[in-house]
C-alpha cells in the first residue's frame, strides 16, 4: 500500500464509513460510540491502586466502575487504539512526536494539551459524554441535549480560537 502521511481519506467518504461503524454499534450492541467513559474507567483503575477504598465511597465513581455501558466503552477503546495504530502504521503516520503549529515550543504545547485535556475531562463528566458519545452518537439519535451540546462545543472552540492562534498558525 502506498504510504503518504499527508494523504487522508475524503472527509465525506470517511464520514459515511464512520456512520456505518456507528450504525453497526447501534444495531448490534444497542450502544453508541464513546471515549470518555473509558478514560474515566482508567482513572478509576489508577485510583484503586492509589487509594483503594476511595472509589467505593464516591458515588459517581462507584457508579461508573459498575456500569456495563462503561465496560463496553473500555473494550471499544481498546479497539480504537488498535485500529488507530494499524491505520497510522499503514499510512506512514506512526511516529513518536509532538504535533504543533510552527510558532510554539514543545513545552508550551504539552502544557496546553494537558490543560485542554483537563477542561475536557471536567466537561465530559458534566455532559455525560464527549464529542463521540454525546455529539456523534446522541446527535445521530436526535437527542435534544446532544444537539445543544454539539452547538456549544463549536461555539466554545470558535470563541477561543483567536486567543489560541499562536499554538496552531
Amino acid at each position: 500500500m502506498e504510504r503518504n502521511p499527508n494523504k487522508f481519506w475524503n472527509p465525506y467518504l470517511a464520514g459515511v464509513a464512520l456512520g456505518l461503524v456507528l450504525l453497526s454499534a447501534f444495531l448490534v450492541m444497542g450502544n453508541g460510540l464513546g471515549a470518555s467513559g473509558a478514560s474515566l474507567r482508567f482513572g478509576i483503575a489508577a485510583l484503586d491502586v492509589l487509594a483503594p477504598a476511595h472509589v467505593a465511597k464516591t458515588a459517581p465513581l462507584a457508579r461508573a466502575a459498575a456500569s456495563a455501558h462503561v465496560s463496553w466503552l473500555v473494550f471499544e477503546i481498546l479497539g480504537v487504539l488498535l485500529g488507530g495504530f494499524v491505520a497510522a502504521y499503514t499510512s506512514g503516520r506512526l511516529k513518536i512526536e509532538v504535533l504543533k503549529g510552527p510558532r510554539i515550543g514543545t513545552g508550551a504545547r504539552v502544557a496546553l494539551a494537558l490543560s485542554g485535556g483537563l477542561l475536557m475531562g471536567i466537561a465530559a463528566k458534566m455532559t455525560r459524554g464527549c464529542t463521540s458519545g454525546q455529539a456523534l452518537s446522541g446527535g445521530a439519535l436526535l437527542s435534544v441535549g446532544s444537539w445543544a451540546f454539539m452547538f456549544s462545543v463549536f461555539g466554545g472552540g470558535y470563541a477561543l480560537a483567536w486567543f489560541m492562534r499562536r499554538e496552531w498558525r
Binding site: 481519506w9 475531562g121 463528566k125 455532559t127 464527549c130
Partner: protein, 399 residues
Amino acid sequence: MTFPVLPAHELGLVVAVLIGFGFGFVLERAGFGRAPKLAAQFYGTDMTVFKVMFSAIVTAMLGLVLASTVGLADFKVVADHAASATFLLPMVAGGFLLGAGFIMSGYCPGTSFVAMASGKLDGLYTILGVIVGQVAWSEVEWRPGFAWFHNAGNFGNYYLWELFHLPAKAGPVVVALAVTAMAVGCFLGAEKLEKVLSGRADPVAMATPAGKPGRLVFAGFAAVVLVGVAGLALPSSTQARIREAPAIGQLDLARRVFDEPWRLRIVDLRALEACATRRIPGAECVPADKLGSLGLAYANPSRDLVLVGEGDLLELPPAAAAYTGRVFTLQGGWKGWETFALVQPAPLAAGALPADVELYRLRSGIRSAMTGMKAAPPPPTPVAAPAGAPRKAGGGCSG
C-alpha cells in the same frame, strides 16, 4: 423487532473491540489523529471535523431510520437504550468548556486516543488531562453546591421530534430528513468557505477537497431527502386508502335524510334487485363491484358519503376511500336500518323514561314517513304541554 442484537457478555466484548477498531481506523484515516488538522476546523481553513462528523451523523441516523421504517428496529427503543438523558444546563455549559479544551489541546477525548495510538505525545498528555478532569468532577458533582448544577435542566430522554411536537411515529423520519437536507446545505457552504479562506496563503491549510466522491455523497444524501419526502407524502394517501370510515347511527342518518338530504350521498352497495325494491330515500343503487364507476375520487366532496351494505361493512372499498370528502358506513347496514326505521317499535310500558318516549316518537315518526303508514297514536305526553303559545302546525299527518 430484530435489532439491537445485544450479544451475550463475552461475545459482546469481542464485538466491542471490532467496532472500536473500525472507529479508530476511520478516525485516523480521516486525519483525526493530528491536532493541527483538527484545530484548523476552528480557523475555517479545513472543515474536515465538521464534514466527517456531520456525514457520519447523517449516515447512522438515516440507517437507523431506514431500519425502523422496514421494521427491523425501533428508533426510539434504540435511542432510549443508547442515548443519555438530556441535562440542558450542564450540557450547554460543558459543551462550551469542552470546545475550549478542544482548541487548547487540539483533540477531543476520542481523537486523543487515536493520536496516542499513532505515537503523538500531545495526544497522550491530553488523555492524562481528561482522566484527571473526569475524576476531579466526579469528586464534586454529587456534593452540595454542585449537584443542583450537575442535574439542572433534566428533561429525561428528550428528542428533537418531541421538541418540535411531531408525532412519535413519523417524527424521527421528518427530523432525519430535515437534518439531512440541512447537512447538504452546510456541506456546500463549508466547501465554499474553505475555498475563500484557503485562498489566503496559509501554510497549515490542508483541506481535502470534496472532489467526485464528495459530490457523490452530497447527491446521495439529497436523493435520500427527495425519496424520503416523496415517501412521507405517499403514506398519507395510502393511509387514506386504508382509513377507517366512522359508522353513522341509524337515528343520525334518519335525521339527516329529513333535515339536509342535499348534504348526503347515500350509496347502497347491496345487490341491484334488493336495492331497487327497498332502499333509504335518496340512495343510489350501486353494487359494490360497480363502485369504481362512480369516480368518487374526483367527485365533489361537499356531500358526506354514506355507504350501506347488507350488514356492517367490514372494510371500506378502496373506491370509496378515495373520496376526498367525509365517508361514513351505516351502522348495522341495511338490516339494521330495516329493524330501526321500517318496523313499528314495540309500545312502551307505562312509566317509561322521557328519553325512551322521545325515541319511541321519533322512531314511529320515521317509520310512518319511510313506509307511508299512519303513525300509531303517540303515547300520552308525560308533562303537560305549556299552555299559551299557539302550537305551530307542522310536520305530521294529523296536523
